[in-house]
Structures are given as structure tokens and as C-alpha cells.
């Protein structure tokens, strides 16, 4: 089996370096007790439960976890993209974006916020652009909708955006169709599309998962530069801890719809407190002679189905430290200590 080298060992971009210190700035996005569920044929299920976090301008918040743990549902409920017919948001949930509660906002309010103040980048660059329109048309469309710029201003701005995301020959690319671009180029266009109205918050749902490692590094560097230059807040959803280590300031680890640990990047990697975080970190391949012969550790089992959630801790079946209490009682998220919270009765590495 081929193990993909993780980015953060390969790249010289300072890992483990929190970008800035701005814990005191007012949060741009304040998610409080967000619970989202789906109506299904087998009854209602809760996909994410009691998720709370804050993002400040210029900050990159990473959300990490296995497939199906609620990362994408979180970002989609912020954007209110979930199908209203078969999903529901708990009435106590609040998504405060710059003081406006998006969970209760009108569709017209959402339309003026989507794309304009909150933008989103999707995972698959191959299908994220409309195949029948030129790159320029698609960027122009967003500007036409959200700004009052005239035609020539929009064109200048679009070409400028394409240049910002490091697309060579932007004037020529303007007239080209998505199929004429490579995957990395398309993802840059997608980013340009997300950024062209100057959003305050960027939701990036696995923006680099479909890209190879070199392109991934370029895209991450690009996003890092953008937030430095324009103070954009970024929520970066990924299952790649390498990506988290590379550019995030703070991390949320999610498991089965719950936040299990939240911390600043460096302490999380240095001393993971939740067994799940620890297991995730251990399953990153380590290069070097020491690790050459050893089998890569993995986490046994799968994320429990939302229909069959255990009564106690949701990680109990896969946790090596399980005791009686974990089965009977559900752990709560601890109080914040040194910017860290953990959902475990017996956190490891506690100082």
C-alpha cells in the first residue's frame, strides 16, 4: 500500500507556528449550540449536536475529523444550504455572523450574505465550475449580482482576481472554459470566484483533498496569503492533519457529530488530550529510519451510525482507555483551560 506523504512534513512553510495572536478581537462568526438533524425514513437523526465555536477576522479555524462526523453539515448549515424539506436546526441554535443570527434569517438576507460576505469553496474542483460558461463569465456573474460595478470595472477586477490567485495569462484564461484548465488551476479559479466579492468569511470544505500534494501546498499558501492581506476569516474543513498543522490557528476535532477537542494548533499536536485526537495523530505516516519497519497505526472500527449512537461516550467502542463510566455516562465538553476544551472523562496529557 502506498502511503501518501502528508504535506506538513514536506513543506518548508513554518508548521506549528500560530499565525497571529488576536484572541481578544470580537468574533466574526459565533456559532452557539448548533444542532442539526435530518428527517429520514427511519426517523429523525441528529447529525451534529451542540457545536459551538468562534472565528475572528484573519483567523483560520480548522475543523478535522473522519468522514461522516459532521464537518460538512456544520459548514452547510452556516450557509443554510441544507435542504429545508428534510433537515432541521434546533431552535436553541444560534449562528451569529456579525451580529445577525443566520439560523433564523430570511432567505433574502441569506442571498445577500452568501457569496458576498460569506463565500464557500468546494472539494471537487473538477465539478465546481459550470462547464458551459467561460471562467470570465462565471466570475463576472457573481460581481454583477453583488456589486454595482460596470462592465469594464468588473472585467478589470476579474482579471485582477485571477492574477491574485496566481493564474498565468489571466486575460487569456478569462475567455477559456473550465475543461481547458488543470485541476489546480480550476481550484484557483474556484478560490477567485469565492474571493471576488471580498468576503469576510471563507468556508473551505476540503479545498485541497482532490489535489496532489504540490498543488495542495500552493493552494494553502495562497489562502494563507489572502487572509494575511485581506483579514478574511477562514473555516477550513479537512481530514488531513497536515493541512491543519500548516496554516490553521485553532483546531476543532469532531467525532460523530460532536466537538471532542478544541485547541490552538501547537498544543494540539504537541499534547493531544482526547484519545481520538491522539489516535488521529498517530495514524499520520512518519518518514525516517525509526518508523521504517513499523506498521502504520490505524483506528479500529468505524464511526458509529447516527441511528445507533451509544448511550455513553461516542468514541467508546474504539477507545483503548475505555472504562465503565464511558459506557454509561456521556462526557461533557470541559471548561476552557489554556484555550483548550476536551470531551473526555480522562483526558490524556493533562498538565
Amino acid at each position: 500500500m502506498r502511503s501518501t506523504p502528508s504535506t506538513f512534513e514536506l513543506l518548508p512553510i513554518a508548521p506549528f507556528m500560530p499565525h497571529t495572536t488576536m484572541p481578544l478581537a470580537t468574533p466574526l462568526l459565533d456559532v452557539r449550540n448548533l444542532s442539526v438533524g435530518f428527517r429520514t425514513d427511519r426517523g429523525d437523526v441528529t447529525a451534529i449536536e451542540d457545536v459551538s465555536f468562534q472565528v475572528r477576522p484573519g483567523e483560520i479555524l480548522g475543523i478535522v475529523g473522519e468522514s461522516g462526523c459532521g464537518k460538512s453539515v456544520t459548514s452547510r448549515s452556516i450557509m443554510r444550504l441544507l435542504p429545508e424539506r428534510n433537515s432541521f436546526v434546533d431552535s436553541r441554535s444560534e449562528i451569529l455572523f456579525d451580529g445577525v443570527n443566520l439560523a433564523q434569517a430570511d432567505e433574502s438576507v441569506m442571498r445577500s450574505i452568501r457569496g458576498n460576505r460569506i463565500a464557500m469553496i468546494f472539494q471537487e474542483p473538477m465539478t465546481a465550475l459550470n462547464p458551459v460558461f467561460t471562467i470570465g463569465w462565471q466570475l463576472d456573474e457573481a460581481l454583477k449580482y453583488h456589486t454595482k460595478m460596470n462592465r469594464s470595472e468588473r472585467r478589470t477586477h476579474v482579471v485582477e482576481m485571477l492574477r491574485t490567485v496566481d493564474i498565468p495569462h489571466p486575460e487569456q484564461r478569462y475567455r477559456e472554459y473550465p475543461h481547458q484548465l488543470s485541476g489546480g488551476m480550476r481550484q484557483r479559479v474556484v478560490i477567485a470566484l469565492a474571493l471576488c466579492c471580498g468576503p469576510e468569511l471563507l468556508l473551505a470544505d476540503e479545498p485541497t483533498t482532490a489535489l496532489d500534494v504540490t498543488i495542495q501546498a500552493q493552494i494553502l499558501r495562497l489562502m494563507d496569503e489572502l487572509r494575511k492581506n485581506s483579514d478574511t476569516a477562514v473555516v477550513l474543513i479537512t481530514h488531513d492533519l497536515g493541512v491543519i498543522a500548516q496554516i490553521c490557528d485553532r483546531v476543532i476535532v469532531m467525532y460523530a457529530g460532536q466537538i471532542v477537542e478544541t485547541s490552538e494548533v501547537q498544543p494540539l499536536f504537541a499534547r493531544p488530550q482526547h484519545p481520538y485526537t491522539k489516535a488521529l495523530l498517530e495514524s499520520i505516516p512518519q518518514p525516517g529510519p525509526d518508523h521504517h519497519q513499523a506498521r502504520l497505526p490505524t483506528i479500529d472500527g468505524v464511526v458509529p451510525s447516527l441511528f445507533e449512537l451509544p448511550a455513553g461516550c461516542r468514541f467508546q467502542d474504539r477507545c483503548p482507555y475505555k472504562v465503565e463510566q464511558c459506557v454509561t455516562e456521556q462526557p461533557r465538553l470541559s471548561k476552557e483551560v489554556h484555550m483548550r476544551k476536551v470531551r473526555c472523562f480522562f483526558p490524556i496529557n493533562e498538565s
Partner: protein, 397 residues
């Protein structure tokens, strides 16, 4: 405009289409039909030309030599008889001026020479009538030629232009009422194409809009549209067409093509609707449509500006299929007497051929012309839409 047309011709689909010889020939044939349509619309051939009696009844077409029996009939009934009858009137001069057969007029001669010619011709006619069957009595050929020459003297020679027009009108013969089959068949092209284009455009528009809305919004919109098309498609379409045609049979709109349009549009949108609904359901899951939502666009904008253009290939193919369908159905409906009412149509021509016993009598030119005109149009469209389907299929090289 020219630049975008050039880009259109340079696309992969257009190049694939141009490599296809069958498709190119089919396009050429369709082009000829379209030219004919435009010509009819510019009144090169008017409705009057089609209803006017321009020559003797049931004269053969397809350049077939006339048998002696019918040559005799033509000379007797369409030349000698009308003149003779006019001469017997109380005011022969006025009556003669009224005798008119298409572009033919009675020769500008005084009454006595005309009476003389008629008398001579009648003698010849009597001799010829003694024969049981002129087709077999070859020895009477010279007498027949003489008879034809005599009767022709009753007629004013045509001017060169009129002669040409007459030849054109007679190109494929005449029907039982002496009307030009060629003109009627050409005029029918316009009727067929008009019905085909109008119904195909409207049906595709209805089908695409309803299908896209059903697929995109889902929920009760979807239920409604699906209920609507399952209900409509559970009625046999021909029966529905008949019912709608009958519903209009007493109204003023009967003379126009409106009942036909309504009857066709009521059923033809179903296929397109089904296809577009499915395609929309597939496309709306794709990230670029989701991305359009995250860009803050409203549903209508996403649906019509971002989603429907992605189904353009399906719309194009559906359009050409519906066009053929409409043309064929129009012929069937007109044949049944429920379609086109006051204009020529291939269906009406085929029905006339049957009603007048033309087919049994071996007078195939009316039914033959109508069938061939329709056959080539439908065949050409079938080949072209097949080629279009191949050209837009990315898996087909």
C-alpha cells in the same frame, strides 16, 4: 456575432457533424425544404394557386406518357366540350370569354371559324368513339393526333412565360379536381414545417420549464408535474388529438392551424419534460450548482442561467425529434380529416387520392407525390437528429 458563429462552427460537435456525410446530405435536403417554405411564405406559390383548376382532371405526373384513351378524354372534355357548350348559349361571345381553364383561353377567332372547328372535331370524335378501347386500336393513332390538333386550334397559344408556368403546374400532374399536385405538395411543405417548428418550439419550452422546475425544486412542484404528465400520457395521444380537434370543429379557429398546435403541444411536451426533469435532478447535485447557491444567486437565476444551458444538447435533440413527430402526426390527423382544414396538406392529398378512387384506377401521382415529399423530409430529419445525437455524445468519436 460572426465571431461567435465561427466559434460555433469550430466546436468539436460541429466538426463531428461535418465529417458525417449522411448528416451533410440530410442538412442539404432540409435546406431545400426550408427554401421551399420561405418561397411559399413569400407567396411564390399562393393558396389560390393550389385551389385553382389549372388543367384537365387526373392528368398523369412524373413525366409519364399519356395513354391514347386519356389523351382523347383530355382533348374532348377540357377543350372541345367547354367551347361547344359556350357556342350553344344565347350569347356565345360572352360565354366564350368566360371559358377558362387555368391559363388557357379560347382562341381569338370569330364565331363561324370556331363553329367550323368544333364541327370538324366532332366528326373525328365520333369516329374515335366507335372504338371500344383506343389504347389497343393503334391504327386510330393518326386520327387521334388529328383530333388533338383540331381541338388545340380552339385554344389561344400560351405566351412563353405562361407556357412555362403551365408546365411547372403540370409537372406532377393534376388531381381529380384538376388542381396542380406539384403546387399543392410544395405548399404542404410550408404547412408541415410551420406546424413542426411551432409545436416543437412550444413543446420544448413547456417541457424544459416544467421538467427543470420539477427536478430542481422537488417536493410538491415535482409531484404536480409528474402527476400532470402521467395523466396526459395515460391518454392515448391520438385519441387526445382527435378530441381536441373535435372540440374546435365548431369554432372560428377551425380554419386556422390553432387546433392542431394545441392538440400537439398538449401531448408533445411530456417526453422533453421527463428527460429534462431527470437531467436536472442529476445536475443540481453537482458542485457548480451548489456553488451558484453559495454565490447567493436566487433559484430562478440558477435554474435558467446556470442549469438549463447544461441541458442544451438534450433540448436540441428533443427539438428535432419533436419536429418529425409533429410533421408525421399532422399528416395522419389531416388524413383523418381532423387536422389542417383549408390549406393543402400531404395528409389531405393522400386522403383525396383514396376518396377519388385514384389509387384503384392506377392514378398514383397524387398519393406518390405526397408520400415522397413527406418521406424525404422525415428521413432527412431522422438522419440529422441521429447525427446530432452522435455529435453531442462525448463517448462517441
Amino acid at each position: 456575432m460572426i465571431a461567435s458563429l465561427g466559434r460555433l462552427l469550430g466546436t468539436r460537435e460541429a466538426r463531428k457533424l461535418r465529417r458525417d456525410k449522411g448528416a451533410m446530405v440530410a442538412s442539404l435536403v432540409i435546406g431545400v425544404y426550408l427554401l421551399a417554405t420561405i418561397a411559399v411564405m413569400c407567396n411564390v406559390i399562393s393558396r389560390k394557386d393550389c385551389s385553382e383548376v389549372i388543367g384537365p382532371n387526373s392528368v398523369p405526373g412524373f413525366f409519364r406518357a399519356q395513354p391514347p384513351e386519356s389523351r382523347f378524354e383530355v382533348a374532348r372534355t377540357s377543350m372541345l366540350k367547354p367551347v361547344m357548350r359556350a357556342l350553344g348559349r344565347s350569347d356565345p361571345t360572352a360565354a366564350l370569354a368566360d371559358v377558362k381553364l387555368g391559363r388557357w383561353k379560347v382562341a381569338d377567332k370569330s364565331l363561324d371559324p370556331l363553329r367550323q372547328i368544333v364541327a370538324d372535331a366532332l366528326v373525328l370524335q365520333h369516329e374515335l368513339e366507335k372504338s371500344e378501347n383506343l389504347d389497343q386500336d393503334t391504327h386510330l393513332e393518326s386520327k387521334l393526333v388529328e383530333f388533338e390538333r383540331k381541338t388545340a386550334e380552339l385554344i389561344e397559344p400560351l405566351s412563353k412565360q405562361d407556357h412555362w408556368a403551365q408546365d411547372m403546374a403540370m409537372l406532377l400532374g393534376t388531381d381529380a379536381q384538376g388542381r396542380s399536385i406539384f403546387f399543392r405538395a410544395i405548399y404542404s411543405i410550408k404547412v408541415a414545417i410551420q406546424i413542426g417548428v411551432v409545436t416543437a418550439v412550444i413543446s420544448v419550452l413547456i417541457g424544459a420549464t416544467l421538467g427543470a422546475a420539477a427536478g430542481y425544486f422537488g417536493g410538491w412542484t415535482d409531484h404536480l408535474v409528474v402527476w400532470l404528465y402521467t395523466t396526459f400520457s395515460s391518454i392515448p395521444s391520438l385519441v387526445l388529438l382527435v378530441v381536441i380537434a373535435y372540440a374546435f370543429s365548431d369554432s372560428d379557429a377551425k380554419e386556422t392551424l390553432l387546433p392542431v398546435y394545441i392538440a400537439f403541444c398538449a401531448t408533445f411536451w411530456i417526453g422533453t419534460c421527463r428527460v429534462i426533469r431527470g437531467e436536472t435532478m442529476k445536475l443540481k447535485q453537482l458542485e457548480y450548482i451548489q456553488a451558484a447557491r453559495t454565490a447567493g444567486f436566487g433559484s430562478a437565476r440558477i435554474l435558467f442561467k446556470h442549469l438549463l444551458p447544461n441541458t442544451a444538447h438534450l433540448l436540441l435533440i428533443n427539438f428535432s425529434l419533436l419536429l418529425i413527430g409533429a410533421i408525421k402526426s399532422e399528416v395522419i390527423l389531416s388524413y383523418l380529416g381532423l387536422g389542417v382544414q383549408s390549406q393543402p396538406s400531404w395528409g389531405i392529398m393522400i386522403r383525396d387520392a383514396g376518396n377519388n378512387g385514384d389509387v384503384i384506377a392506377g392514378r398514383f401521382w397524387q398519393i406518390g407525390t405526397a408520400t415522397f415529399f413527406m418521406f424525404f423530409l422525415v428521413l432527412a430529419f431522422n438522419i440529422l437528429s441521429d447525427a446530432l445525437q452522435d455529435a453531442f455524445d462525448p463517448k462517441h468519436l
